[in-house]
Symmetry: C2
Subunit: 372 residues, 2 copies
């Protein structure tokens, strides 16, 4: 196992020219004024959090930010994917305008993926764009959603259908926050960490398998390595394809099936990471059914997903025509074009490709993966 001191801060840089920024990974970061030392200055800052995270970390964030911003406002949104809506987003705009915030005001997203996606979209849109900083407090947000500039909200007809590509000025991954995470959310984050193995790095996959007990026990050294390596892979992909014209889509491994599960169950019933975990099972088995990867590799991934505490059986969304319901929902996925579903599939361990698949084969994989 690589030796990383979790008490020293390490930086991963996302190289996007003038939009480049650093992901700081370490402990005790949220409450240190130094964490925010070289960000854009303004007379006001707004911390956007949720009702679950704010009581734990908002006060230390506010104290540290007060060293740099004369006025630091706080807004706690309701917690959960079900609130990733325009109505909730509107509360951020209301707060900004009520406080008389201006074009220089800096937004800080303190929470998980929902808070980060909504705060990022609010920053992209308020007065046509103000700076923002991600302070992800869930494992999933630290290794995936806070990095790369995807922001947005859900629409009743589809997930993340409204949003922007808008890069933060900084991502602050404070590993301390992972110690207070509910076990279900820890597992959800592991889904996105596991994802990086089959699509890009089989050595990392080996490492995750070997160190899963430490990760589940929240050993700081193991978490530090998992977050850092995940961010490195994501940074490498995003730097090559910021707006998902091609390569970046491989990061959606497991997400096409996963989005169908989330939409079909109603947003929030399954955690995003749970749906992705189960979606990876389906995508891996579809890859094997297409002869692109050994069935043994797919089943190895299924074992790891299960061991991480994630569901490996999909929900039945429609007892009459379950596979048909999955297919209909997947046709609404943003990657679909003219009704054709493009899957992220494993083309040999460590390599992902985008391609369509015969409907009959997709149906049989869904049938075999769903709880009867």
């Amino acid at each position: 196992m690589p030796q990383i001191d979790p008490h020293s801060t390490s930086n991963v840089v996302i190289d996007l020219g003038e939009r480049s920024y650093a992901i700081a990974i370490g402990t005790g970061l949220i409450g240190q004024p130094a964490t925010y030392a070289d960000l854009p200055r303004a007379s006001q800052a707004l911390i956007v959090s949720n009702t679950a995270v704010a009581p734990l970390y908002a006060e230390q964030a506010r104290a540290a930010l007060s060293a740099h911003y004369p006025q630091v406002h706080m807004l706690a949104l309701p917690d959960g994917e079900a609130y990733k809506t325009w109505e909730t987003l509107q509360r951020i705009f209301d707060a900004l305008l009520t406080h008389g915030c201006d074009r220089k005001t800096v937004l800080f997203a303190l929470g998980g993926g929902v808070v980060g996606d909504m705060t990022g979209f609010a920053a992209a849109s308020f007065m046509r764009g103000v700076p923002f900083v991600q302070i992800p407090t869930t494992l999933l947000a630290q290794v995936d959603s806070s990095v790369g500039g995807k922001t947005g909200i859900n629409h009743p007809l589809g997930k993340n259908m409204v949003g922007a590509f808008y890069q933060p000025h900084r991502v602050v991954c404070d590993l301390d926050t992972l110690q207070t995470l509910p076990p279900r959310e820890l597992s959800a984050g592991l889904a996105e960490i596991i994802k990086y193995g089959p699509i890009a790095d089989t050595a990392f996959l080996d490492w995750i398998e070997a160190n899963l007990p430490d990760l589940l026990a929240r050993a700081p050294q193991a978490l530090a390595h998992a977050v850092r390596r995940s961010c490195e892979i994501k940074a490498w992909v995003v730097a090559q394809d910021e707006r998902e014209a091609g390569l970046r889509a491989i990061l959606n491994f497991g997400h096409t099936f996963g989005h169908a599960i989330e939409a079909g169950m109603g947003y929030g019933a399954w955690l995003h990471g749970e749906a992705v975990g189960c979606g990876m099972v389906m995508a891996a088995r579809l890859s094997a059914a297409l002869g692109m990867v050994d069935a043994a590799f797919a089943e190895r991934l299924v074992m790891l997903v299960a061991a991480a505490g994630l569901p490996v059986k999909g929900p039945v969304l429609d007892p009459g025509d379950n596979a048909g319901r999955y297919l209909a929902l997947m046709r609404l996925d943003k990657k679909a074009q003219a009704g054709a579903i493009t899957f992220v599939l494993i083309d040999g361990p460590g390599r992902a490709v985008m391609r369509e698949a015969p409907e009959a084969l997709v149906r049989s994989v869904i049938d075999s993966c769903c709880a009867g």
Copy 2:
């Protein structure tokens, strides 16, 4: 007067590197398939219009676009600034998702500034960005709002507070549409044309004064020149400062006072161009009061605004403290920072600058400009 054949199409190019695009100016453009020949291809297109414009031009636009897109959908929004809201924007997303539109779908904004701003923001945000084309059908939209990539919606606490900088792929200015424009909207468009004179081009100001009767009579040759010269000046400014970090703000001459009028009266009571016309009167007189330009130049501008059929007296927004109400509303303007109002002022004919002004002087200008 420059000799322009209004029946031949001329192009003004906005030079923004890979986001460059052309503004086509001419007659009979909407119904010609050739107008849309080299735009991005897709299986679907959506024309967004409003209930006033759609009956006049939507069918010819649809017929012409059908030569290039297998499916062309139509959406007519309610007409007016009062509908430039999230609720109306949501109808565009609903239409896109109900029709199964995808990331390649091209949006066409057929209407005035409200339709253009909302359709542009919908294009910026749908699936984090799809291509769009502006087909402005009002004079104001042809010379100002459809050019330069400012998109957005209003918030109850301020105009255009939520939006994006997002460039269209093409702007199509069909001069025929100006023949059916209500007189009040023709005058509103003249306000933005007049604006380009004092801030950038005194020769153009002379030309407008000399040709105002032809413009009011909708002579195609005069309209063609006014639209073309306005777009050239706007293109020159936007190419230097796409995201309004500096220079571009001069295009907001008259808009700080104008936005206060619009917000104070309730959006839609005054047309945007009417508020800008009256706002230019206030800004010109404030410039003169600061000794930056002769009072005679300010009064020349007031005469021209009046001759164009625009109001030169501001409304009383609060009989108790009218100037105080204007000031409070202007502090919410996007250009304000930390509560300080920055005005676009005339620093000698043909040259605009951004600066603050003593409150007492601003108050006295407001008092002298408002109907008692």
